[in-house]
């Protein structure tokens, strides 16, 4: 939280501090509605024209026993008058709705940060459930912070008393009370949330009234001097954002829309087959709502059936798409190998999560890079691309459709749990401005055989059942280079293996040369990243560059094949540091490909990188 000046705003009791940016974390029980609260604050903040980034962090348990630490759900938002790149290293304000939320989140709070605590929930029993031996409100736990102790529970009950709700229903409004207080704190309008509540509780107007009353009460609490006198609220100026029409978007939404756009640009139908798995299911949900766009979604009986149905759909002339997360991807791999062998287009989205095995389903990681590139039997190359942010998923999805259809190959899109769930403002693109993706099904029987290749792309023709004269058989048994018939010929297998590899390698000629995201193309150190590490790397690099450090940021979208100029680019730096949320997969890949002494900065805690962690790593490498 960087302060620039104080201004006196009319009707405020104390001057509002002007901040460049702020980080707020809402934390409470899974049932406390923290994700909804965060979502509303995000929307309102976006309407106030701040730039922002969010990080929803929720437990795998649907409704863990109330009051436990493992049932704590949190939503963090970083917003400001400057470009926001990450959800923020550490919260300036922590809203803790119960002792467990305090226990889990206090360690992240900036020293001196505000801890807004619902002391009404700090009962003996709740303290015990959270594992506090003594009361943190009085035992000095909060000494390094500025606690604001408010009986939110009681105040909420009072604010909705007139509406005659049950105690349980009334108490469920306390997230809106807290939101109201935070709205006051940052000078936010309440109209959008009021409207949203009216729509959400259209059939229970008493609940809408209660939630609005609670929000208003929380807001009034701030305004009417019930807060400590040194806390006067904050003012965050509008960000300098490119003009245009905006919305907030999560990675899953952007992916869904990007896939629909890709299919539309290619002029083909899309069939999406998937099996529920955290954190990938939201993509299935998003696409299932798009029936009016002719999207066929299929919830298969398992991961294997999902990918097989998608391949079957591609075989029949639709764009087959499937999605999953790490363990589900492992199940799909045999079928993906078939799609490589029979050379059919397929888009596979992997929302990565912490592993191995079930690992931590709701926590983010980037540890499926090896699985994506090499995780199949035999020599089975395909294309792998990665999105760097929620909104980037839109373009990445379109690129996946382009590569899959042009090269008749499976394309794996790597996102992660963070990207899938986090949201950011998005300058809504004009779909008509995207170049069309030319897809031509083969119709001419003259000289046709199913593995007749385009001399340039080496792709085979897409010959779809229903086309007269092109009846043919394809399958997992090696196919003859000349006829496509079954072949066990040794020389043929050698040739087919080589051509499959050459086809995928050739994609490198069809993707942009790797650019430097920030900084010069030569220097002391390049930080290389891929996927959702984009935010913290770019902020860390720009922070250090402002201090004169000769560091550059290179961020990969195309992981396999790698951009044609990447080796040359990396050779321009004295040192190369790959920052990734795994034990060193991209760094190993780059060392293997380029024989360069590449170093790794690796984090696998289930949490995104902090900017400070990357800054520290750069500085230590450069001896500064």
């Amino acid at each position: 939280m960087s302060t620039t000046a104080n201004v006196k705003v009319e009707s405020d009791r104390a001057p509002r501090q002007i901040l460049e940016s702020a980080v707020v974390r809402f934390a409470g029980d899974s049932g406390d509605g923290m994700q909804l609260t965060g979502g509303q604050f995000t929307l309102t903040t976006a309407l106030a024209e701040n730039d922002l980034a969010t990080f929803p962090d929720f437990p795998a348990e649907i409704r863990a026993p109330t009051g436990t630490t493992y049932g704590v759900s949190a939503f963090q938002i970083n917003f400001g008058g400057r470009r926001i790149k990450t959800a923020g290293d550490e919260p300036d304000v922590l809203v803790a709705m119960n002792p467990a939320a305090l226990k889990v989140n206090l360690g992240d709070l900036r020293r001196g940060g505000l801890a807004i605590l619902d002391i009404g929930s700090f009962t003996e029993r709740n303290l015990q459930k959270a594992g506090f031996k003594t009361n943190p409100l009085t035992d000095g736990t909060l000494d390094a912070y500025r606690p604001i102790k408010v009986d939110i529970s009681r105040l909420t009950l009072e604010s909705v008393k007139a509406l005659g709700l049950s105690q349980k229903e009334a108490l469920r409004c306390k997230n809106m009370w807290a939101l109201g207080l935070i709205y006051w704190m940052y000078g936010r309008e309440r109209t959008a949330t009021t409207k949203w509540l009216r729509a959400k509780f259209a059939k229970r107007t008493d609940l809408a009234d209660a939630n609005i009353a609670a929000m208003d009460a929380g807001h009034a609490f701030g305004e009417t001097a019930e807060m400590p006198s040194d806390i006067g609220g904050f003012l965050i100026p509008k960000a300098d954002i490119q003009p245009g029409l905006y919305r907030t978007v999560t990675g899953s939404e952007a992916l869904a829309w990007g896939l629909v756009a890709g299919a539309e640009l290619a002029g083909i139908q899309m069939t999406f087959a998937s099996y529920p798995i955290t954190p990938a299911s939201t993509l299935l949900h998003a696409l299932a709502r798009l029936k009016s766009y002719g999207i066929v979604t299929f919830q298969a009986e398992d991961e294997i059936a999902a990918v097989c149905a998608a391949i079957g759909a591609s075989y029949a002339g639709s764009l087959g798409v499937t999605s999953s997360s790490g363990p589900g991807m492992a199940l799909k791999m045999e079928a993906i190998g078939l799609a490589i062998g029979v050379e059919l287009p397929l888009v596979v989205v992997n929302s990565q999560r912490a592993g191995p095995s079930t690992g931590m389903p709701t926590k983010t990681e980037q540890s499926d890079l090896f699985q994506a590139i090499w995780g199949r039997n035999a020599d089975s190359p395909l294309a792998v691309i990665a999105s760097r942010s929620p909104s980037d998923c839109f373009d990445v999805a379109i690129e996946a459709v382009r590569l899959a259809t042009k090269y008749m190959t499976p394309v794996i899109v790597l996102t992660d749990g963070y990207i899938a769930n986090a949201s950011e403002p998005w300058l809504i693109p004009d779909v008509n401005a995207y170049p069309k993706i030319p897809v031509a099904f083969r119709t001419d029987p003259e000289g046709f055989h199913p593995f007749l290749r385009d001399p340039k792309t080496l792709a085979r023709p897409w010959a779809v059942p229903g086309t007269p004269g092109l009846e043919h058989r394809i399958g997992g048994i090696e196919r003859d280079y000349q006829t496509g018939h079954i072949s066990y010929d040794p020389a043929n297998h050698q040739k087919m293996t080589e051509i499959r590899a050459a086809k995928i390698r050739g994609i490198a000629r069809d993707i942009p040369l790797q650019a430097v995201e920030e900084g010069e193309a030569k220097g002391d150190l390049a930080v290389v990243g891929w996927g959702s590490t984009f935010g913290p790397i770019t902020r860390a690099v720009s922070n250090l560059r402002e201090k004169g450090v000769r560091v550059s940021h290179i961020h990969l979208r195309h992981i396999w094949p790698l951009p044609a100029n990447l080796k040359e680019l990396l050779e321009g730096f004295d040192r190369v540091l790959v920052a990734e949320m795994n034990a060193g997969q991209l760094s190993t890949l780059l060392r293997a490909e380029y024989l360069l002494p590449i170093e790794g900065l690796n984090k696998v805690s289930g949490q995104p990188f902090k900017i400070a962690e990357i800054e520290a790593a750069i500085q230590s490498r450069l001896g500064k």
Partner: protein, 343 residues
């Protein structure tokens, strides 16, 4: 201009591919292939609208020998591929060819679900009670005590009944045939094709190399009449050389019993009449085994409901009618909360 070209009448030969058939000499698959090729012209479909999808195993080589579209996929998953094909293009006639190992062991889950969903495909399950292509291990339909390389002392697990499995999975069409009955098989395939929804046909198929004569207890000429009953909708359930043996509900029970017309006061009116729409009767027929009962052959069950694809596309059409989405995707991206940032 709408000009409909009458379909050129195709012959069974037109459905044979140019590939050399590589099953063992004497394999029951040859006869089934012939029966399928025989029935294809009867479908009156353009050849290009027919797709054969298979998994892995001897039976799953089938698509290579048909001159239609064909997709030889991976072990056990043919139903899932077929579902995708059918979802993408409901106009295609999709035939799944599988075996007892492919369909009921590694692929049991997918077979269960394609039947449950009632995807409009024909599933031909070649049951030879053995793994052929992997050289003779016992399969999930092998009878208890089956000696094989993996069960040298005889198998100890109980076998699965494909038709009972299909019925349990919710199949709406269940038929049984025998590889050597070249007259009957095309009729069964035609019935399967005519049924809209998942049609399940179990074909007893002799593996001459690893499990020869395993079905001899009801297929051998000497016992066939007494150990097979050919069921026809609306006809009494009679069998036997002279057609005098029949099935009736055993008085005081829910079971069937074999009786003889003219003996013990049994008249033809006492014999059950086959009702292929009765799930209960189908269950009883499917469960019958020699030697105490004849093996039921023919259409055991046919009781159609709307296929999966119909309902999928109906929802899409309804959604389109409700939200015609003018402006397409651009409009979609601009729905919900948006805000304008001005210069």
């Amino acid at each position: 201009m709408n000009v409909t070209t009458p379909l050129e009448k195709l012959t069974p030969k037109d459905f044979a591919s140019d590939q050399e058939v590589r099953w063992c000499p004497g394999c029951g698959d040859y006869a089934i292939l012939k029966a399928v090729q025989k029935v294809m012209p009867e479908l009156n479909l353009p050849k290009e609208n027919i797709v054969f999808v298979s998994g892995i195993g001897c039976s799953s080589r089938f698509p290579y020998y048909m001159s239609t579209y064909g997709f030889h996929t991976i072990h056990g998953r043919a139903p899932a591929f077929a579902t995708g094909v059918k979802l993408a293009n409901p106009d295609l006639s999709v035939w799944v060819v599988t075996g007892d190992g492919d369909g009921l062991s590694i692929g049991g889950n997918h077979l269960l679900h394609i039947l449950r969903r009632n995807v409009d495909v024909q599933i031909l399950l070649f049951n030879n009670e053995i793994y052929g292509l992997t050289k003779g291990q016992y399969s999930p339909t092998s009878r208890i005590g089956t000696r094989s390389p993996s069960t040298p002392s005889g198998s100890v697990d109980y076998p699965l009944s494909p038709t009972e499995f299909a019925l349990g999975a919710g199949a709406r069409f269940i038929a049984r045939g025998i590889d050597t009955q070249l007259k009957l098989l095309p009729d069964l395939f035609l019935r399967a094709y005519a049924h809209r929804g998942a049609s399940f046909v179990e074909i007893f198929q002799n593996c001459i190399v690893y499990n020869d004569n395993v079905f001899a207890d009801f297929t051998d000429k000497t016992v066939a009449d007494d150990h097979q009953i050919h069921v026809t909708h609306g006809k009494p359930l009679l069998f036997g050389k002279d057609g005098k043996r029949g099935l009736r509900v055993k008085p005081g029970s829910f079971d069937l019993e074999v009786v003889t017309v003219g003996e013990n006061g049994i008249a033809e009116k006492d014999i059950l009449v086959h009702d292929e729409t009765s799930r209960t009767l189908a269950q009883l027929l499917a469960a019958m085994r020699p030697p105490n009962f004849p093996m039921a052959i023919g259409v055991l069950y046919c009781n159609p409901v709307a296929p999966y694809g119909d309902r999928v596309y109906q929802q899409i059409e309804e959604a389109k009618a409700k939200a015609p989405a003018p402006g397409g995707l651009n409009a979609l991206l601009r729905t919900g909360h948006t805000w304008q940032v001005s210069d």
